[in-house]
């Protein structure tokens, strides 16, 4: 076997970009395909090896999952596809599958003598690209190369989103996608697009598209760095190139980052997808948004939906938000949630576990869990884009958030978002707790929220607040969605940390309102805090958001509202708090972050921004927002500092805001938990 040849041919073919785009596969392919076979049964292992060799593949066999993982980690890009048995003594095959999917993003084929439907279904939900029943015949093995090709193709497609939001992985509705993409394009996508246009992009593409694409083993640390970078940049701005620069990891290429980003987003999407059913919130949000969107004050009741509805948030984001948020189907339409409620919402205490869980997990996982799920943050398109990118689930949220992009009501959106967050949180707070997790599943949501928040960041100088945990999403977000989507399980959001949220309140970022929120979200706070720490870096993410964030100077009242532009209303919250009170916001954002963290860090970037904005917003809300006239981009940095808030913070911030109506400093922003201030925009 000459793996190199096989690959090389592909590589060459791809150099022209044909490989990936045109799916033109060199003749030699699939010869040389590098396969890793894992099975504890020695007989099967030998037989498989023999068969694969007969197919002219380059085979490496191993009988332990741990060994397989270390092999994969050591040889980044050393394999093209993995075939693994389901029942293994040292590690469950599905667990291995998840690890591989997260860290290396390789196609994995599961196999077993077990052909029971539920087992096969498990393979599907865990992301296996195929399932073979033993005894495996050589004919079945002959075609496994298709999975490699398909994956590469999809990855590129994702990157290509800027131009064409192919439905592809996007779960979003086509219309949303379009919407999103167009707006997103302006945001991240544009950059990605640009990148594409650039020569190096093309070249990079080629490289990545080739089978030979060096595989980076995304260890936990690396992933955390990635998430941090994404958060720092902000979802919208999370361009692989910049992420790469921020990460500053030698040997890491842009393609690696790009594909990982894609994967991450898919992952978030998957998470949110699981909880999609929960995301009826989005729907409600959207509708609610329309209704309530106009009234910022009514943010309370402003469910993200309304925000989303306001058209700001693309359906997708809403969905994601919802999904992310908590899968709370009840998109708090018309968030009439009294501030108190909002608090509750944020008092993620209950939900905390959800988020927390998710968050925790995600702290490192770059997938920002869209804690914001339900919160149809009015993330600005860009943000949405970012969010979208980062985590599909968030995207939904973002969509919502972005929708409002320029709305003064963005605040509302934010609020809505926050609401959604709140809702989400509430859900979690209450018995809903699971909601969050569900949203967790929707990492996207939180991200979305974050995104939304970011928009709001404009409002809050506190973009920090938004530090939104969107950035965190990775850490917290994951934990969030994870909780529910469970499959994603990684989301162990430490939400359970009610205490965390409480932290937020004190942060002061959230001023009274926020505090209230924070309190409410303390549940989250707790978790967020955790995330915060984790996501310290988040602030960066917010940057991106800030951009999107509309934190218009007209902040204060507007801020919250106007900034709601930030799709992730949550972000706004953060923003607010972050604005000046970055410290305070932090808290909030932390909380928010925590929340957002769950959302999945991917969104973090966005959410963060949004979150920050939210924070800022929130913070300012009570104090900051107003005072700070949303530092906008400037404040972005501030906002993001809190990135830790992740989306959750944003969410909480948003929720808070919503609760208090975007009115600045209103208690509306009960960003309890959401240290929206910190929305690092």
């Amino acid at each position: 076997m000459n793996p190199s040849n096989g690959k090389g041919s592909i590589a060459t073919a791809s150099s022209s970009g044909a490989w990936k785009v045109g799916d033109v596969v060199p003749d030699q392919f699939p010869a040389g395909l590098r396969v890793l076979v894992v099975d504890d049964d020695p007989t099967c292992l030998v037989i498989l090896e023999k068969m694969l060799r007969a197919c002219l593949y380059a085979v490496t066999k191993c009988n332990r999952a741990e060994i397989a993982l270390s092999l994969l980690r050591e040889n980044k890009n050393g394999f093209d596809i993995v075939i693994s048995d389901v029942h293994m003594p040292d590690m469950d095959g599905f667990k291995l599958l998840e690890h591989i999917g997260l860290e290396m993003d390789l196609p994995v084929i599961m196999m077993s003598a077990d052909d029971e439907k539920n087992v096969v279904m498990k393979g599907v939900t865990h992301g296996a690209c195929d399932y073979l029943i033993k005894p495996v015949r050589i004919e079945a093995l002959k075609n496994i190369w298709q999975h490699v090709v398909r994956k590469r193709k999809n990855e590129w497609k994702e990157l290509d989103q800027s131009g064409s939001l192919e439905d592809g992985d996007r779960q979003q509705k086509p219309s949303d996608e379009v919407e999103y993409s167009s707006s997103a394009n302006e945001g991240n996508w544009k950059s990605s697009k640009k990148r594409k246009d650039e020569e190096e992009d093309i070249e990079d593409r080629d490289d990545t598209s080739t089978l030979k694409k060096p595989r980076v083993v995304w260890s936990v640390e690396l992933h955390q760095q990635f998430v941090a970078a994404v958060n720092q940049l902000g979802i919208d701005k999370a361009v692989p190139k910049k992420i790469l620069e921020l990460m500053n990891v030698p040997g890491l290429t842009r393609e690696n980052v790009a594909s990982h980003l894609q994967k991450y987003r898919l992952y978030l999407r998957r998470l949110s997808g699981v909880s999609q059913h929960h995301s009826s919130l989005n729907n409600s949000f959207i509708s609610a948004q329309e209704a309530t969107f106009g009234s910022m004050s009514s943010l309370n009741g402003l469910d993200l939906q309304t925000l989303a509805v306001t058209g700001q948030l693309p359906a997708q984001s809403l969905a994601t938000l919802q999904a992310a948020g908590l899968g709370r189907p009840t998109a708090k339409s018309g968030i009439p949630m009294p501030l108190v409620d909002q608090r509750n919402l944020f008092s993620f205490e209950n939900p905390k576990p959800r988020f927390g869980e998710g968050q925790q997990q995600h702290l490192s996982s770059s997938k920002p869990v869209n804690l914001l799920h339900g919160i149809p943050t009015t993330m600005e398109p860009k943000q949405l884009a970012n969010l979208h990118q980062s985590a599909q689930p968030l995207g939904n949220m973002n969509v919502q958030v972005n929708a409002h992009g320029g709305h003064s009501s963005s605040l509302l959106m934010q609020m809505g978002q926050t609401q959604s967050r709140g809702q989400i949180l509430n859900e979690s707070a209450g018995s809903h707790v699971p909601r969050l997790p569900s949203s967790v599943g929707h990492p996207a949501i939180s991200n979305g929220i974050a995104g939304g928040v970011i928009g709001i960041n404009g409002i809050g100088d506190n973009s920090r607040g938004i530090g939104y945990n969107q950035v965190r999403p990775t850490s917290s977000m994951l934990s969030f969605p994870m909780n529910h989507t469970s499959e994603l399980a990684s989301n162990s959001f430490p939400l359970g940390s009610t205490p965390g949220i409480s932290n937020i309140t004190p942060k002061g970022a959230f001023q009274d309102e926020i505090n209230s929120e924070i309190k409410g979200s303390t549940g989250f706070g707790a978790s967020y805090d955790i995330f915060n720490d984790l996501h310290q870096q988040k602030s960066q993410n917010w940057e991106l958001h800030n951009v999107g964030l509309q934190f218009s100077a007209s902040q204060n009242a507007n801020r919250l509202q106007g900034n709601l532009d930030i799709s992730p209303s949550v972000l706004v919250r953060q923003g607010y708090s972050s604005s000046q009170t970055s410290g305070q916001n932090r808290n909030v954002s932390d909380i928010g972050r925590a929340v957002f963290s769950g959302v999945e860090s991917t969104q973090q970037g966005n959410t963060q921004i949004i979150g920050q904005q939210l924070n800022n917003f929130l913070v300012d809300n009570s104090v900051r927002v107003k005072a700070e006239s949303i530092p906008d981009a400037g404040s972005q940095s501030i906002l993001f500092p809190e990135n830790n808030f992740g989306q959750e913070d944003l969410m909480s911030a948003l929720l808070k805001q919503q609760q208090g109506g975007i009115a600045p400093a209103e208690s509306e922003f009960d960003l309890d938990g959401y240290s929206i201030d910190n929305i690092p925009v």
């Binding site: 007989t43 030998v46 077993s112 003598a113 077990d114 015949r137």
Partner: protein
């Protein structure tokens, strides 16, 4: 016996094993995989299978011999045996494993013990037959001929 005859005998023998269901098409597939570059492949795989299976049978016996039988563990072993049997083409053995598993699910100790007996029987049966097959192949090779591929 001359080579031609030996070869014919081998072919017939293999066919009969297939007909009886002791071996199935998977085994033929494995035979086809064997080529000049790797003439000992089939023997190697099957030996590996025997070794592994005997270990599994011992494990199962031990597990059923416990004061309090953990049927899950037993099921795990049987599942594995089923998988490898299927992979080498030991059809009857595989089917015996399938039946065994249902007893494990029912948590019927008696049923499991009986199944174990059946599985052991099938195992020794297929082991015997395949070893005979290999002997015949050796003979052919020793006589200067080449092992015919079974269609």
């Amino acid at each position: 016996m001359e080579v031609g005859q030996l070869q014919r005998r081998l072919v017939d023998y293999t066919k009969s094993l297939l007909t009886e269901g002791i071996l199935d098409d998977q085994f033929s597939q494995l035979q086809k995989l064997q080529d000049e570059s790797d003439p000992g492949f089939l023997v190697e795989v099957v030996s590996l299978f025997f070794e592994d299976s005997e270990k599994l049978l011992n494990d199962i016996t031990g597990a059923l011999d416990q004061q309090s039988v953990d049927f899950k563990t037993v099921d795990g072993y049987v599942h594995q045996l089923k998988g490898s049997s299927a992979s080498v083409g030991a059809l009857r053995l595989k089917n015996a494993c399938v039946a065994f598993r249902s007893f494990c699910e029912e948590q019927s100790l008696e049923g499991c013990l009986r199944s174990l007996q059946e599985v052991k029987q099938e195992y020794y049966n297929v082991k015997n037959k395949v070893e005979t097959l290999f002997k015949m192949e050796k003979q052919i090779v020793a006589a200067g001929g080449s092992v015919p591929k079974t269609e």
